[in-house]
């Protein structure tokens, strides 16, 4: 509509110069995170913050979130809000367990993708063909996913495992480690030298006990980026999420692309479910196993501004916080609070430079409160510890005032003509 144009029509648009390319932002972000963590670990005396064990757990826990987030990315870039990721993920966990205990881990992966994709197909039929509100359909799929798997596991798993809530154990993947390299890193890590040991610990966690599923998931990220941003198919898919009427007027098959996107989205969420089932700590289907990770994946994607790079950052953040609390408990999470204080300090300086007095003041207040919390407590009460990932995300989302830009036609029902 003409009436919503905010721009002044006659201002010639100068080509925008991005000062820093996207990959450099990523590198800087990783470097910044490592510096922050190693400083925190040095100041608080918690080497667990950057230990290889923590990193390894973090990777395992980040995986389902990453995959769910990727699923969300696909769907939302095509303009379909997929709050049903959670349900599709649950279907994926059941599928993985059902195929996994019979035919091994690769079958588990395939079945999880198929089950998740079926959930995606259902969502696509509801939202694209019948124009159901995306949230309503998504919530329905979440309920359906939980209910259906409960029924199916009572039917199929109960006679085998004598437990309607759990499947028989699944064969895990063999894991791989970069043997020589990891040992060398282990020596460095054990040396407890500032920064070097921290980096070594994190790297060692990344190259130890890697399963094929981890590699697959990590590969899916650049692959998704390539498909969505560097191919004709991806351009069409994104155009459908931005302005389906324009896409349609140019001969793009809007419904087709939405269907593909949502089915892929479901498949990825299902794969996330497989990552949960095949996690060395569990190795079976458990009712309630997903624990809202579909939603968290969606949050990670929003945190990443509907971009794969940011999504990876969001998933890593969740996974790390989750891994830390699982691995080391309340004391170390308190160390993380100290890290947040340091981060806030940096933000305060940055906001002062930009002359944003209000943001700076707010950051100071929060930093002081958190610091008081840190010095007055010995460890975070265990009731709170399991919420560490959520807390961390809240804190980061609250202070990182980023310009979020969702696809313009996201969540809107498209009708031809």
């Amino acid at each position: 509509m003409i009436t919503t144009m905010e721009e002044k029509p006659h201002v010639p648009a100068a080509p925008r110069k991005r000062k820093i390319p996207g990959w450099a932002v990523g590198v800087l972000g990783v470097a910044g995170a490592i510096v922050l963590l190693s400083t925190t670990s040095y100041m608080t005396g918690f080497p667990q913050l950057t230990s290889s064990g923590t990193t390894q757990t973090a990777v395992r826990l980040a995986l389902p979130i990453l995959l769910a987030g990727l699923g969300g990315l696909w769907a939302e870039r095509a303009g379909v809000v997929n709050i049903g990721l959670e349900g599709m993920m649950i279907m994926g966990t059941w599928g993985a367990a059902w195929a996994g205990y019979q035919w091994g881990p690769w079958a588990a992966v395939v079945a999880a993708v198929v089950f998740g994709a079926l959930g995606g197909l259902l969502h696509a039929i509801a939202t694209v063909t019948f124009g159901v509100n995306h949230i309503v359909s998504g919530v329905a799929i979440n309920l359906l996913g939980a209910g259906l798997t409960k029924y199916l596991s009572t039917l199929i798993f109960l006679p085998l495992s004598n437990n309607p809530r759990q499947s028989p154990p699944v064969t895990p993947f063999d894991t791989y480690s970069a043997a020589g390299f990891a040992d060398w890193l282990g020596e460095l890590e054990a040396g407890q030298r500032v920064f070097i040991s921290d980096v070594a610990g994190i790297l060692r966690g990344l190259v130890t006990g890697v399963s094929p599923l981890t590699m697959l998931a990590i590969l899916l990220l650049p692959l998704s980026y390539y498909l969505l941003w560097r191919t004709r198919f991806g351009l069409r898919l994104r155009s459908v999420g931005e302005n389906p009427h324009a896409a349609d007027s140019l001969g793009v098959k809007v419904y087709f692309h939405k269907y593909v996107a949502v089915i892929v989205s479901g498949g990825l969420a299902g794969l996330g479910g497989a990552a949960l089932v095949l996690n060395p700590g569990q190795l079976s289907y458990l009712e309630g196993q997903t624990g809202g990770r579909g939603y968290i994946g969606l949050a990670a994607m929003i945190f990443g501004n509907w971009r794969p790079g940011g999504l990876l950052g969001g998933a890593a953040l969740f996974g790390y916080a989750d891994g830390l609390q699982l691995r080391s408990g309340g004391e170390t999470v308190l160390g993380l609070v100290y890290g947040v204080v340091i981060l806030l300090g940096v933000i305060v300086v940055w906001q002062l430079v930009r002359r944003k007095w209000f943001s700076a003041a707010a950051a100071i207040v929060v930093a002081v409160l958190l610091y008081l919390l840190y010095v007055s407590l010995d460890e975070i009460p265990s009731e709170f510890v399991s919420y560490a990932p959520h807390m961390v995300t809240l804190a980061v989302l609250a202070v990182a005032s980023q310009r979020l830009r969702m696809p313009a036609a996201d969540g809107l029902v498209y009708r031809r003509g």
Binding site: I2, E7, P12, P15, L250, G251
Partner: protein, 532 residues
């Protein structure tokens, strides 16, 4: 040019439509339409809204099949099933409402759907830069479309069409969103491309523009072509009479009815952007008197919308006062302001004026839910609402099968007549009319103008916002120019020309004598505004 002139006569015409008929359930949108567009010309298609121009263009562009009739392109009969067929035959369309994805780059928008031509990478980029020159677009293909202004977006649309190899380009109401200076630039582009052999089909109801750019004109009325004209000899008035088939209205108000009774008094009104970084309204002072129409001219996005919404209480002013007669409205909500006597014709009737899925009488209640005749105490008075809707339908000539049909079933002009009728009900003291005749046909436009004039004569104060400068000049007693949230200049509607106003609106001539000082250099300027 001489060679192309001779070519025009020898070659088969670029497009010939013969006997096109298209029926929709209950309506005949086109009946027996004949149209011949010669190669290399700018052919204008004029007609009221709802006359069938859009349907005809949809048929030519392959979006709808005709029920009867044939289409010939370059002498060969063709059948279009989809727009892609039309594109293959060299026909491209620039839609009135831009078909662009804001968050994609210029390049992505251009290559979308035509990736097979040059891929989506460097080759495509090169081709786009090559073609950009022809359209006068001077931006990097990697820029996001959301960063472009309206005129540049239009050029991107033309670029899209060129990229697909179109030789015949349909421009659907291309000037509706442009200020006069941009219109001139567009026309320069069109002429430049015409010399390179492109053919244009120019759809418009702005007749001055049609006469300025077209080589020939076809007029369409009630779904059928009623004749052709030579734009060099025909006057705008004659053309318009062909369009409506009768005598024409004009927005001009002859005698002044301005009194010195102040109705709306706005002082020091300020409004900041949500992030507080920059003012949208900057110290606006405005007085509207009884019997006076105050027009606000300005390029869209300079604060007119926000001014209106702040006066209506839809946005909260940072500072300043708003007084209606003797009542201080500053702290009141929108409903209270309406009850105090403000009628409001919103700029987008679909977003703010009507509930499209609800029946007409239901729409009559909106904004009047606390007042007679649509409410009694705490209850809605549906009988009263229905009766009063019947009155509006009769008095304002709303063409509808009944008051129980949903608002969406009415054409734009009839919807707008309903809105204007509603807002003039209940004896308002002030009418705020935002683009009251945008997107409506000439008949509805005339009626709305007449009603505003009548209410003005009866002492109504009117605040008029319009992008149609002829309307603004014709209706207003005072014109104020708004630029970047400030009222920067006054213009006298008796003397100012649309061009002067246009340059004041872009800031180029805000200080020029013709706008601020009244009645000196341009004493004879108002000539044919009335014809439009």
């Amino acid at each position: 040019m001489s060679s192309s002139t001779s070519a025009r006569t020898d070659d088969p015409p670029a497009v010939v439509l013969t006997g096109i008929t298209k029926r929709f359930p209950g309506v005949v949108a086109n009946s027996d339409v004949h149209l011949t567009v010669r190669r290399g010309e700018v052919h204008a298609l004029c007609g009221e809204n709802g006359a069938g121009k859009s349907t005809l263009m949809k048929i030519l562009y392959g979006m709808q099949p005709p029920d009867e009739g044939t289409i010939e392109v370059n002498g060969e009969q063709v059948r279009f099933r989809t727009p892609s067929d039309a594109i293959k035959a060299g026909i491209g369309m620039v839609h009135q409402h831009f078909m662009l994805a804001d968050n994609l780059t210029v390049q992505e928008n251009v290559v979308l759907g035509a990736e097979a031509l040059h891929g989506i990478g460097q080759k495509a980029r090169k081709r786009i830069i090559e073609l950009s020159g022809k359209t006068g677009l001077n931006v990097d293909p990697g820029v996001l479309v959301e960063q472009l202004g309206v005129a540049d977006r239009q050029r991107v649309e033309i670029l899209k069409v060129l990229y697909r190899g179109a030789k015949v380009i349909i421009l659907d109401e291309p000037t509706a969103v442009l200020v006069p200076q941009e219109v001139n630039e567009l026309f320069d582009t069109v002429r430049g491309m015409q010399e390179q052999g492109y053919t244009f089909l120019f759809i418009s109801h702005k007749l001055d523009e049609v006469r300025a750019i077209a080589d020939s004109v076809t007029v369409i009325r009630r779904g059928t072509t009623v004749g052709s004209a030579d734009p060099k000899t025909v006057s705008s008035r004659q053309l318009a009479e062909m369009m409506v088939g009768s005598e024409l209205p004009s927005p001009e108000t002859r005698e002044s009815t301005v009194t010195d009774k102040v109705v709306l008094d706005v002082r020091g009104l300020k409004l900041m952007t949500p992030d507080g970084s920059r003012p949208i309204l900057d110290d606006v002072d405005l007085v509207v008197r009884s019997g006076e129409v105050v027009g606000i001219a300005g390029v869209e996005g300079n604060g007119q919308t926000e001014l209106v919404e702040t006066v209506m209480g839809m946005r909260k002013a940072g500072s300043g006062t708003i007084t209606l007669l003797d009542a201080d409205l500053t702290k009141l909500g929108t409903l209270a302001r309406r009850e105090a006597g403000i009628g409001y014709v919103p700029e987008d009737r679909h977003r703010h004026g009507l509930l499209l899925t609800q029946p007409l009488w239901y729409n009559r209640i909106l904004g009047y839910q606390t007042r007679k005749p649509t409410s009694k105490g705490i209850w809605l008075d549906t009988d009263g609402a229905k009766k009063d809707t019947e009155r509006i339908v009769a008095d304002f000539d709303v063409r509808t099968p009944g008051i129980d049909v949903p608002a969406a079933a009415l054409s734009g002009g009839n919807q707008q007549k309903l809105v204007v009728g509603r807002e003039l009900s209940g004896d308002p003291k002030l009418l705020i009319a935002s683009h009251p005749t945008r997107g409506v046909d000439v008949g509805a436009q005339a009626l709305i103008w007449d009603e505003i004039k009548r209410a003005r004569a009866a002492g109504l104060a009117v605040l008029l916002i319009s992008a149609d400068l002829d309307e603004l000049i014709g209706l207003s007693d005072t014109i104020k120019v708004m630029l970047r949230g400030r009222l920067v200049a006054d213009a006298d509607p008796n003397t100012v020309t649309p061009e002067d106003l246009g340059s004041a609106m872009t800031g180029a001539g805000a200080t020029s004598a013709s706008v601020q000082e009244t009645g000196t250099a341009h004493g004879t300027a108002v000539v044919e505004e009335g014809a439009n």
